[in-house]
Symmetry: C2
Subunit: 339 residues, 2 copies
Amino acid sequence: VDAGIMAKAQARLDNKTKPVGSLGRLEEFARRYAAMTGTPDPVLGKKVIFTFAADHGVVEEGVSAFPKEVTVQMVLNFLNGGAGINVLSRHVGAEVRVVDMGVDHEFGEVPGLIGRKVARGTRNFAKGPAMTREEAIAALEVGIELANGCRAQGVTMAGTGEMGIANTTAASAIIAAFSGCTVADVTHRGTGINDGALNHKIKIIEQALAVNRPDPKDPIDVLAKVGGLEIAGIAGLVLGCAANRMPVVVDGFISTSGALIACELCPAVKEYLFAAHESVEIGHRFMLERIGAEPILDLQLRLGEGTGAALAMGLVEAGVKILKEMATFAEAGVAEGEY
Amino acid sequence: VDAGIMAKAQARLDNKTKPVGSLGRLEEFARRYAAMTGTPDPVLGKKVIFTFAADHGVVEEGVSAFPKEVTVQMVLNFLNGGAGINVLSRHVGAEVRVVDMGVDHEFGEVPGLIGRKVARGTRNFAKGPAMTREEAIAALEVGIELANGCRAQGVTMAGTGEMGIANTTAASAIIAAFSGCTVADVTHRGTGINDGALNHKIKIIEQALAVNRPDPKDPIDVLAKVGGLEIAGIAGLVLGCAANRMPVVVDGFISTSGALIACELCPAVKEYLFAAHESVEIGHRFMLERIGAEPILDLQLRLGEGTGAALAMGLVEAGVKILKEMATFAEAGVAEGEY
């Protein structure tokens, strides 16, 4: 991003009727948003959360507290407006777009569903690669294409979300592959598994890494071997947003694994994303450190779907409104401070 | 509050289409809001931020980076909609009500200003009591009366805010008086004073405590001797909200000093408040510990006015909407988890 525009935005903030710097991270959001979009007076248009859904072959290893059918059921819940992401998106004035990246179900024509199925779920990565390299690239391209479509639709900020039973298993495998952390250090309870199931999940991920040997220098290899189709969609969306100079708010653990793939492919992408929140999942902070992002919220969330991203988008927008709407000292006839 | 209603609200949350507990603090906000209001299906009505303004005699000791006139100027900025609190309140759909508790200026008839002036500012508490006990009680009663008026107006959640040049000096003195911490441990830079001015501010507060000897067992004594008229208004509002079973979102350092007075007067009040955010002011965490509140946001804010409260109200409301609007497993036909 352009450091000059960031400085211009901060200078504008410093003229507002408040002590310099006193709105803390709201000012950070405003100047970064300005720099991302390339103007010290950025536009606030439509906000969209993309919720990518896909199934995971590794679910057959018993790594989740929920049965695989829940992926399909929750997609229908999203389309009916009854899920957490619907409630929170309505609350902040964002639209939810649900993308079928690879759910193991033929939905047919369902109003509102964006059908971009690359495969009917991944294969069980405890036994071999989750996807072919071609499938991973095709899924990345779906996300890029969705980002490319935003500008013409008046969308000015995107958020990421996902649904896919067993996808914390994939996200933990991804951060373990890149960071070299032990699997136990980056693996947690997902939707709420007990101690025995957690130990089993750790063993399955260790096995997956041993069987597949993903190459951390080749992010697409990591994505294909131990990732997921919805994670690839998120990675593509993040790449596409950065290419289009559009701020993207990345949700929690699984979304950040997608953003991490994008950042490992192209480190410049880091400048275009906001980390929505700090997840309860213990592997999340290793991802955030790697992409150099400071989470906006810490509400002990672990639902996914884009729920944290929706709330954080509201806060980013609040920061930009400070830049756009607050009166200056001169406009309001207020005396400035002497520090 | 009624533990039975809190449990009923949590049971309702546990039936929503998400892993149990996965919305973390949003669920806490929802069940506490339910318990405060006395129903597992609480109403979301109007949100109001009360921004109390007053001047401080101690300003003549040179404790602030800004001149005293800024209190008046900012009140007019609030009424014109140009301040940070106006921007953030509009963003979350809250109304701002500006209350003149004791600004050293005769406003005359100004549209929108709620005139409740108890005195033209406090006296310089470095030399003697800031207020008489009668003035402190009169100012408390203003806040109580404003809270009492809310229900009939359809207000269901209140937030606190303030404006008063030099009021971090009063807030630091209050927490020092109650906690027994050293003044240096609870005193910070306010609007942004430099090192020399900070040392001077600490000495002035030490002098104020030595001269006035506020009695920590008598919260009204503390308020009268080293508090402020806007702080008294906030304390009264918090007391009044609790008495009316209305949730109140307490902003940062100065607001929390008011909430602390209320909690020291009546500990049951603690159950009716939300702590909006963790302030940059170092004394804030001692206040939060004392009232047993966990802040919702940490955005490095130090503006006051109610800015953090406005943003936090939006998050509390989001939690309540989860309780009210999300589909249950049965409604959505989603399978439940086995933990």
